[in-house]
């Protein structure tokens, strides 16, 4: 079974600064996907970024980027130029690669507070 570990229950960052959220996972699969989801106080789950394990290049979406280390099974999220609207719970998630879709396995989350 796959497991996802987020070792930082809470973090804070000053507005406009950079912050990195950690995620490690355990799997025997060679092909899989990794995701970061954001959950603001509205409760909505919002996809932030995704990474295919077969791609060596780290995914980037505007101010959000990942550091994907496949051998170390590490998938950290970097948020640059932090904004007040980035305040949210962040979940790292894993998905096995199969012919059809497979469910997500989530970490327990990191609560990020951006301070003005």
């Amino acid at each position: 079974a796959q497991t996802v570990t987020q070792s930082q229950p809470e973090m804070s960052v000053q507005e406009a600064e950079t912050v990195t959220l950690s995620c490690t996972y355990d799997t025997s699969e060679s092909n899989y996907y990794l995701f970061w989801y954001k959950q603001p106080p509205s409760r909505q789950m919002i996809l932030v970024i995704r990474q295919e394990a077969y791609k060596q290049q780290n995914a980037t979406e505007n101010r959000f980027s990942v550091n994907f280390q496949k051998a170390a099974k590490s998938f950290s999220l970097k948020i640059s130029d932090s904004q007040l609207g980035d305040t949210a719970m962040y979940f790292c998630a894993f998905m096995k690669y199969r012919g059809g879709n497979t469910p997500l396995v989530f970490g327990k989350g990191t609560r990020l507070s951006v301070i003005a």
């Binding site: 996802v4 996907y33 409760r43 879709n101 997500l104 327990k108």
Partner: protein, 117 residues
């Protein structure tokens, strides 16, 4: 296009009562999922369906049942609610496999907050 809708938004329920949480998507996605979110535990999979007419058990299926009579709807039923089922419930969907294309991104509904007393 609404995406995924869930009803009710929130509910307080007496223990022992039966409850169905509704989930509807208008994106013609093949796969649908139910997760529960508990403080400090993240989201855990309850049941899933890869296509209409099929369902499967997730990590925490006990006390829950699902059906998938058509592509759009995926209701979750608690036959006899217990306080440990107090949680926020999320429905999600994804395209799944369509022809030779496989996509993976899951889209989430707004959630249902359920309190069982």
């Amino acid at each position: 296009i609404a995406g995924i809708t869930q009803a009710p938004t929130s509910q307080i329920l007496a223990a022992g009562r039966r409850m169905t949480l509704r989930c509807t998507q208008d994106m013609r996605h093949n796969a649908m999922y139910w997760y529960r979110q508990d403080l400090g535990l993240g989201l855990r999979l309850i049941h899933y369906s890869n296509t209409a007419g099929t369902t499967g058990k997730g990590e925490v299926p006990d006390g829950y049942s699902v059906s998938r009579a058509n592509t759009d709807d995926f209701p979750l039923t608690l036959a006899s609610a217990v306080p440990s089922q107090t949680s926020v419930y999320f429905c999600a969907s994804s395209v799944g496999t369509s022809g030779t294309t496989r996509t993976d991104t899951q889209y989430f509904g707004p959630g249902t907050r359920l309190t069982v007393l």
